[in-house]
Amino acid sequence: MSGASARPGLFGAAHALFLKDLLSEWRTRTSTNALLLFAFAVLILVGYAVGPTSLTPEDRPAVHSVLLWIVLFFSAMTGLSRVFVKEEDAGTGAALRLSAPPHAVLLGKLLANLTLLGAVTLFVVPLFLALMSFEVKSPALFVLLLVFGNLGLASACTFTAAIVAKASAKGTMFAVLAVPLLLPPLVGAVMGTRVAATEADFFAGLDFVRLLVAYDGVVTTAAFILFDAVWRE
């Protein structure tokens, strides 16, 4: 009775894949460490160049909002393509195609990328707030922007990673393909962060959260619909 239902469902398979990726990454921790170090390096560079002492208090919200998202964006460009590229490089892509349904693969990889990006965010944001004396007047809005902004970044990057995994010049192609897809959520997130930094009213920047939620929904749905075609190539 239970033997026939040994195959996991969609969420079970996705969960298993997610844990596998997390575990294999935890064992070596090389790429995560490199990514955190990279994010830190960008942060330091940004601090040296346009730190709080070189800007007037009026300019700080605008400039620092965009710099925070630049750090997150560059981290995404560096680290989020690995989920699919490493499968092709290690030769495990075929095995993965055989062992799990496509949507489970996408969901699992998306969760892995979200976790990675979340870890970078948790690392970068407090440092940024401290090092740049970045004052956020509406923390609730700020958190929402980070959450939905990260979701948008992760969705678009995961799908793009799947596309470039089979192409040549993967590193450059990934960034080239991801930038146009990521401009809408980044613009929304930056503008929203600026509002969160300057106004204590939570509802003032809600428009940007709406934009991000809409974008996240659209991109994630499109990714799930199109992933089958991409994965089977």
Binding site: V176, L183, D207
Partner: protein
């Protein structure tokens, strides 16, 4: 009949170019003769957008039916759309320089054409990076469709939000309400002519793709 249509287009284009410089009067509220660029800039931008829709449509058809002709059509539309997009950006930039003394104002409308440029560039770059024709067709079709659903955010959503934070620097240059009849005539004629030109080149590109494909065993 096709020959006749091409002849009409050629002659029509000559007439439109003449009319755009010598017959239509310069519009008010514009610096000097700079309003004449609207006869070139707007059609280019329109064609670039239409080409994008066309590429997305054929990408969807390809993913459904897997006929390589759809991929030919999508890539033809993208290649030409890219060229028209570059022209639209350049003409717009020239106009911005004359009108507002800066080649680029980071106005939402301007940046939306940049986004289209980036998408086209990315799509064509992706096609160049994949050797196998079926894989190239599938992956570029998938990318075109994802780009298609994300572009409206920056083209339509953000400008509406941005307007509340910044004054819109684009005067009613795209508003048709204020056009005098002679300008309106040339304007619509130019739009049609450039669209016809695009469709002509698009068909040629598709034919060339098919011939090249059939020539290779």
């Amino acid at each position: 009949m096709l020959r006749a249509a091409q002849l009409i287009l050629g002659l029509g284009m000559v007439v439109i170019i003449w009319a755009s410089f010598l017959w239509a009067r310069p519009a008010e509220n514009f610096v000097g003769q700079s309003s004449r660029i609207v006869f070139y800039h707007v059609p280019m931008a329109w064609v670039a957008t239409i080409a994008f829709f066309l590429a997305a449509w054929h990408s969807a058809v390809y993913l459904r039916k897997r006929r390589i002709e759809s991929d030919d059509a999508a890539s033809a539309a993208a290649r030409l759309g890219f060229v028209f997009c570059i022209l639209a950006t350049v003409t717009g930039s020239i106009f911005a320089r004359v009108m507002w003394n800066a080649y680029w104002n980071w106005d939402p409308r301007q940046t939306s054409i940049t986004l289209l440029l980036l998408v086209y560039g990315a799509y064509l770059g992706l096609r160049g990076a994949i050797e196998d024709s079926e894989r190239r067709a599938t992956l570029s079709a998938a990318y075109a469709l994802v780009a298609f659903v994300t572009v409206p955010f920056l083209m339509f959503a953000v400008p509406r939000m941005y307007a509340s934070l910044h004054p819109d620097t684009v005067l009613n240059a795209r508003g048709k309400i204020e056009m005098s009849p002679d300008i309106k005539t040339v304007f619509f004629a130019a739009n049609l002519a450039f669209l016809a030109l695009f469709l002509w080149l698009y068909n040629l590109d598709r034919k060339v793709s098919r011939i090249l494909r059939e020539a290779r065993p």
